[in-house]
C-alpha cells in the first residue's frame, strides 16, 4: 500500500517550527512514514521569508536565520520536493494560495492540510473554480491538522 502524499500550508510549517501545540500529528506522521510530505521551492521560500522577518526576530530573538535554515533543511530532507510545479489552477478569491493548490495537484497529493478557512473553502464550494479543482485533483481532501490527526488515529 502506498503512503499518502500530503501538502502542508505555510502556517502549518510555521506552527511546527515555533508552536508544536498546534501541529497535531502533522510532522510526526511524516517522520514515522505514515505520510509523505510534498514541498516546492515557492512554499519553502515563503516559510523562510516569513520566519526570518525582522518583526518575528524582534519578538523571538532565538529565531535566528541560522536556526530557520536548520529547520528548513530538516523539513526539506524529509520531503519530496517538486521543483517545477505547473500553474494549472487559480483560486480567484485568494490567488496568493495558488502555489499550494498547484503543488497538491501536481504531486497528486491525498491531503492539503491547513487551518485557513479560505483554503478549506474550495473543498465544499460550488463555484466553477472549486469544480475545476475537484476535476484536477479528484482524490484531494482539504482538511485541518486536527482532522488529519483524527484520520491517522488507529
Amino acid at each position: 500500500m502506498s503512503v499518502p502524499l500530503v501538502v502542508y500550508d505555510t502556517m502549518v510549517f510555521m506552527q511546527a517550527a515555533i508552536n508544536p501545540g498546534r501541529r497535531y500529528a502533522t510532522f510526526e506522521a511524516v517522520e514515522d512514514g505514515r505520510l509523505e510530505l510534498c514541498a516546492s521551492p515557492d512554499l519553502m521560500a515563503e516559510v523562510r521569508d516569513v520566519l526570518t522577518r525582522s518583526s518575528l526576530a524582534k519578538r523571538f530573538t532565538a529565531l535566528t536565520p541560522e536556526r530557520v535554515a536548520q529547520f528548513l533543511g530538516k523539513a526539506n530532507a524529509t520531503a519530496t520536493v517538486f521543483s517545477a510545479v505547473p500553474r494549472a489552477f487559480s483560486w480567484p478569491q485568494h490567488p496568493d494560495d495558488d502555489h499550494l493548490f498547484n503543488l497538491a495537484i501536481h504531486a497528486k497529493a491525498r491531503y492539503l492540510v491547513t487551518w485557513e478557512t479560505r483554503i478549506l473553502k474550495p473543498a465544499t464550494d460550488t463555484t466553477p473554480a472549486a469544480e475545476l479543482l475537484r476535476q484536477l485533483a479528484p482524490d484531494l481532501a482539504i482538511i485541518t491538522p486536527k482532522q488529519l490527526a483524527d484520520l491517522l488515529r488507529p
Binding site: 502506498s2 503512503v3 505555510t10 502556517m11 510555521m14 506552527q15 511546527a16 517550527a17 515555533i18 508552536n19 508544536p20 501545540g21 498546534r22 510532522f27 512514514g33 515563503e46 521569508d49 516569513v50 522577518r53 518583526s55 518575528l56 519578538r59 523571538f60 530573538t61 532565538a62 529565531l63 536556526r67 536548520q70 529547520f71 530538516k74 523539513a75 530532507a77 496568493d96 487551518w115
Partner: protein, 93 residues
C-alpha cells in the same frame, strides 16, 4: 558527511519496506554511490544531527515565556504572512 570523519565498519541488517528500498536505490543511483554508502550517510546524519524539536527548543521556550495564547500566536503569524505577501506583491508591481 560520514566520509570526512574517521569511521568504523559496522555490520547491520536493514529491514526496509519496498518504498524505502526503492528510494534508497534511487538516491544511490542519483549520487553515484552504492546503497551501503547512502545508507551510512543517512544513518550518520539521523543520529548525529539535532532533531527539529532540538533545533527549535530555544524559540519555543521564548514563545512559551511570552505568554501569548495559541490564538494570539496564530494571529501574529498570519498577519506576518499577509504582510509578507503584500510586500512581495508591491515589489513585483
Amino acid at each position: 558527511m560520514a566520509s570526512a570523519i574517521p569511521t568504523t565498519e559496522t555490520p547491520v541488517t536493514l529491514r526496509l519496506s519496498d518504498r524505502a528500498r526503492a528510494k534508497l536505490a534511487e538516491q544511490a543511483a542519483n549520487s553515484g554511490q552504492d546503497i551501503s554508502a547512502v545508507a551510512s550517510d543517512l544513518i550518520e546524519h539521523a543520529v548525529t544531527q539535532p532533531s527539529i524539536d532540538e533545533i527549535m527548543a530555544p524559540v519555543r521556550k521564548q514563545v512559551a515565556e511570552s505568554g501569548m495564547s495559541d490564538q494570539e500566536l496564530d494571529d501574529f503569524l498570519r498577519s506576518e504572512l499577509e504582510a509578507h505577501r503584500r510586500e512581495k506583491k508591491a515589489k513585483l508591481s
